[in-house]
Each structure stands twice: as C-alpha cells, then as structure tokens.
C-alpha cells in the first residue's frame, strides 16, 4: 500500500493483512516494522514481558521470500504476540514468575511450532498473571498491564483482565494482529471481554498443551485472541492439532472454520441459562444480554430458556480442582534443575522451601497452600473427591441443556474493566470475575467472547457463546452473527502513544 501510514497497517485484521500480503500489496517486513514501532510506543501499557524485534524481522524476511516464491503458509508473514506461558525455543519464557525469570526453553510448544510452521512472525512474549493465576494481570512479577481502554472523561488506569492481560491489551491497542492466550477458568474470554476483543477457548483437547507451562492440567486450554471472529477462526485452524506429545489432544480432523462462518443462524437453537441471571448483575450487562438474544432471533435463531442448576457451585468447585492440580504441577519448581534458586541454602529442605518461598508470588503461594490442604490426608474426600463429583453434575447440566439447544448465550463477565488495585485486597472478589466463564472449563466445552457494546461510561462489554464439545464450527457461526449485529467498531483513544 504505497503511501499508507503505519497506523493503517497496525489497525488491520488478521484476515485483511493476510489478503494484502498474498496480493503483494504490502510486505511482511513493512507490516512487522509497523508493529515493532507500535510496541515501542506502547511500552507504557506493559503488555510485553519480552520483545523479540530482531527475531521478528528475520522471520518476516523469510516470509517475504516464501510469499514471492508462492510457497505461503496459512499465516505467512503475519505478526503475532505470544502469551509468555508458551515455551519458545531460545526465547525467555517466564510465566510472569520470578521463579522462571531467566528460563530459556530448549524446546518449542506445539501450538507455537504450528504457528511458525504456518509462517507466522513472533513479535514477543506477552505479560500475564503469574502462572496464569489471576483475573486482572496484577499478580505478574513484571508488574500489571494497563488496559488501553479508559472510561469516558477519565484518566484512571484500568486492568486488561487476566490472566491473558498482556495479550488482550496488545490486540486492543493494535500492538499485534492477534495473540495467543490460555484459559483455565476464563483467562482468554474475560480479558477479551474487558478490552473489546474476541477470545476463543476451544474444547479441551483441541489444542496440544505440550510446552505450555502447566497450571491445572484438566482445565488448561490454548486459544486465539483476535480483533474479529473471522480472525479467531483463522488462528484456531493453525493452533489446533493432534499431538503425540499430549495424550489428551484429540485425534479429530481440524475443520476449515473460516469457511463455515457465514452460514447464518437460521433455525439455530440458542439457549439462555436462567441461573446466569445472578443477583447484583449490572443493568447494562443484563440489557446487552437481552439485546443479543434479540439480534440472534432477528436473524432466524430460536431462543430457548434452559437450566444449568449447579451453576452456583462451579466457582467453589473450580477453587478446589484448580489449586489441587496447581499444587501438584508446581512441585517441579524446586531450585534444582531450572529456575530460581535461593542463595546459601543450609540444607536440601531449606533450598526447596526458600527457593519456592522467594520465587513464587502471593497468589501462587495461596493456591499452592489451598491445593496442598485439599489433597492432604483426612481432607481429600471432603474437598477434592467432592469437587470431582460436583464437576460431573456440572457437566451433566450442560449435556441436558444441549438436548434442547445448539449453543448457549451468556454475558462474558459480571462487569466492565475495573481500576488497578480495586479488587486485590479480597481474593474472593477477584475470583467472582470468572463466574460466567469457569463452568465451561469444568465441562471441557468451547466458549467464545465477542464484543457486544459499550457501557454508559464507554467501556467494552463482551457476550459469551458456549458450544458443544468439538463444535467450534457452530460456535463461530453464532459468534459471527453476534458480531455482525453488534457492529462493534469502537477503538480506544491512543493516549499511551502520546
């Protein structure tokens, strides 16, 4: 695009940039350089833990050669940001923890390898809550991320959601075309919702977990964070794969999600779970939810009320299952084979205890202690075994609901982005951020957050759609219908680049 400004380049969608590259209207180097400049100008947002400009330009040049030779992959030359939970060979991977502060993986995660195989360009590693434990990106060892969005007539900094807060902020601020995230209880969908972006958590098993720093292995799943539903479809198609290195990755063909987007929702049965109309839900969240049901109805969908009776037990169930798995997964950080080691240990026990005590932050320690407690002798049956049974009941709720509908429609979050520090004093208040998203992880289902509109104060709100297992196609088709009707075009003012 001769004469185009770098602003035009960074505002592109993934699909738009892909088509412009294929048509040779722009080069990957030109596009990548524009994002590198945007990332530098956006350093005040603290969205990146590690910038990889040199690597990005090398990858971009290689992509331009392949584009010229007509050997382009599905994501050829497209600059992406990678959540710093995905191991990247030779590039520091921290999980936003002091304990992994200097860790340089000698291997690549399967998801990122899939992206590089498709020709994508790595711009850098994005900030997150430490070990993905948080809903505001405030537990990061590298400091909080600032949401590009501010309320009308306000200079107050807001959180970008979490745990994939660096990724959501980077996408919303046009610091990348799209980003990867991971979602254990809402960590893709909640940050997407509060930044006006699209976030998709695929079905458990759709993407390989190999090389992703583990939090809660039965819940963790990687997914795309993008500007549009189409972009999410494109990125997921490259991220997903069956992988011999992850025995829980599922051996199902990856559909061409992009080709089914425009199928429409005529005759689609959209379930509205009545238990999600929780007490104290803000009026604009409830109003947007009703409006979205009307949008889908106007496009020919059938709206049905459904019941998920165990909804209120999902969060407490999650706060037993996830810490239990985390306490086990995080046992590997012992100051011996890799990671932070405390200075001058007296003996081996002192080495373990102080390396972990000094290396893990407060929220991670809290969850390790919860997990250790609920798994300890005498408490296992009362807590962990009971939570596992509750999980069965929660999954059965969804199975029953999906007998009368094809997708579910809910709000993504109980409210818009909140102020930095507003919810850090009470862990429970922070945990409630995930009240609408956590059920989906417990049942292993796919869910997507799509921007629905702005609050009266001018902050984005998201709508969540939940699908049947491995039915991301229908989920994306419904999401496309919501996106079309919402016609969300608002962008944050670029105050940070001033």
């Amino acid at each position: 695009m001769p004469g185009s400004s770098s602003n035009d380049l960074t505002a592109m969608t993934l699909a738009g940039a892909r088509d412009a590259l294929k048509a040779r209207k722009i080069s990957s180097r030109e596009l990548t350089a524009a994002f590198i400049a945007a990332i530098e100008a956006g350093r005040g947002l603290n969205a990146f833990v590690t910038e990889t400009a040199e690597v990005a330009l090398l990858m971009a040049d290689a992509s331009d050669k392949r584009l010229a030779a007509g050997e382009a992959g599905a994501l050829e030359g497209l600059p992406l940001a990678i959540k710093d939970l995905f191991c990247t060979k030779g590039t520091r991977t921290t999980a936003a923890s002091k304990i992994l502060g200097d860790f340089v993986p000698p291997y690549e995660s399967t998801v990122t390898q899939n992206l590089w195989n498709a020709g994508a360009v790595m711009l850098g590693k994005t900030n997150l809550d430490e070990f993905a434990m948080g809903s505001s990106n405030e537990t990061s060892f590298f400091g909080p991320v600032v949401n590009p969005w501010r309320a009308k007539d306000s200079n107050m900094n807001l959180v970008p959601g979490g745990s994939s807060g660096g990724s959501s902020a980077a996408v919303a601020a046009d610091l990348c075309l799209a980003a990867t995230g991971t979602d254990t209880g809402g960590s893709i969908r909640q940050p997407a919702a509060v930044t006006g972006t699209v976030g998709l958590k695929p079905t458990y098993g759709r993407c390989s977990r190999y090389g992703i720093v583990a939090f809660a292995s039965s819940l963790d799943q990687a997914g795309p964070m993008t500007k549009t539903v189409r972009d999410a479809a494109i990125l997921l198609a490259s991220m997903a794969s069956v992988d011999p290195k992850d025995s829980t990755s599922v051996d199902l063909p990856v559909p061409d999600y992009e080709s089914v987007l425009e199928g429409g929702v005529k005759g689609l049965r959209v379930g509205i779970p009545k238990e999600y109309r929780i007490e104290g839900i803000p009026a604009d969240v409830a109003a947007l939810w009703d409006k979205a049901a009307d949008w889908l109805k106007a496009q020919g969908a059938e709206i049905v009320e459904v019941s998920l009776p165990h909804t209120k037990y999902a969060l407490p169930t999650y706060y037993i299952v996830a810490p239990a798995e985390a306490s086990s997964n995080l046992a590997r950080y012992d100051g011996v084979r890799f990671g932070y080691r405390a200075a001058h240990p007296r003996d081996i026990t002192d080495l373990y205890e102080r390396s972990r005590g000094e290396g893990f932050g407060a929220e991670v320690q809290r969850r390790i202690l919860i997990g250790t407690y609920v798994l300890s002798a005498g408490y296992y049956d009362a807590y962990y075994a009971r939570a596992q049974r509750l999980r069965t009941l929660i999954k059965r709720d969804f199975d029953a609901a999906f007998e009368t509908c094809d997708v579910l429609l809910t709000p993504s979050t109980p409210g818009p982005a909140f102020g930095l520090g507003a919810k850090t004093s009470d862990p429970l208040e922070m945990y409630l951020q995930d009240v609408f998203t956590v059920t989906v992880n417990l049942a292993g289902l796919p869910g997507i957050s799509v921007p629905g509109g702005l609050t009266e104060s001018g902050l984005p709100l998201g709508l969540q759609l939940i699908g049947k297992a491995f039915d991301e196609g229908t989920l994306l088709r419904a999401a496309q219908a919501v996106e079309t009707a919402a016609d969300f075009r608002a962008k944050p003012a670029k105050w940070w680049a001033a």
């Binding site: 809290r366 202690l369 009971r386």
Partner: protein, 95 residues
C-alpha cells in the same frame, strides 16, 4: 472446619514453601475466607455420582515403549541454577 496458624505451618511444610512467621496468621484468615465459601458444596448430594476424571470421552492412547528422544544433556543442563559436568548440584544430603 477452620484453618489456624499451625495448620498453615503444617501445609506450608508439606508444600515445601517457606512462609515467614508473620505471614502465617494473615494467610490463615485468607484461607478461612475461601474455605468458608467452599463449604456451600456440602449442600449438594453427591452420593452415587461418579467423580469426573476426564471431560472428553477418550481412550488413553497407546504407543510403542521405545526411546524417541535423548542425547541432549547440554540442553537439559542449560537452565540449571547449580550444575557441574552433567550433574545437578544440591547441598550435601548424606553426612
């Protein structure tokens, strides 16, 4: 069931986590808040409900029991905070 200072000390020991003495009491309060909230799970009858061990119905895959990787001791040692030759080092364990 309530968590006190001594319980926090005990589970911190099990978790091999050094929690400073002055943090034990506040941590006990925080954990109590969380466990009191979790108590609501006691309302639900779970007798006869099997525990969910896998969200996706899937047979565990089999593979051949053979060596597929290895010979990369240098890479394995590259991130070790203490290491000599191809050995991880720790404080003396046996007198």
């Amino acid at each position: 069931m309530s968590v006190d200072k001594d319980t926090v000390r005990r589970i911190a020991k099990l978790a091999r986590l050094a929690v400073p003495e002055e943090r034990l009491e506040p941590m006990a309060r925080e954990l109590n808040g969380i466990f009191q909230w979790v108590e609501m799970l006691g309302e639900v009858k779970v007798e006869g409900v099997p525990p969910l061990t896998s969200v996706v119905a899937q047979k565990l895959k089999w593979r051949k029991d053979e060596v597929t990787d290895g010979g990369n001791a240098d890479a394995l040692m590259a991130n070790a905070p203490g290491g000599e030759d191809h050995f991880f080092t720790v404080p003396k364990v046996v007198e």
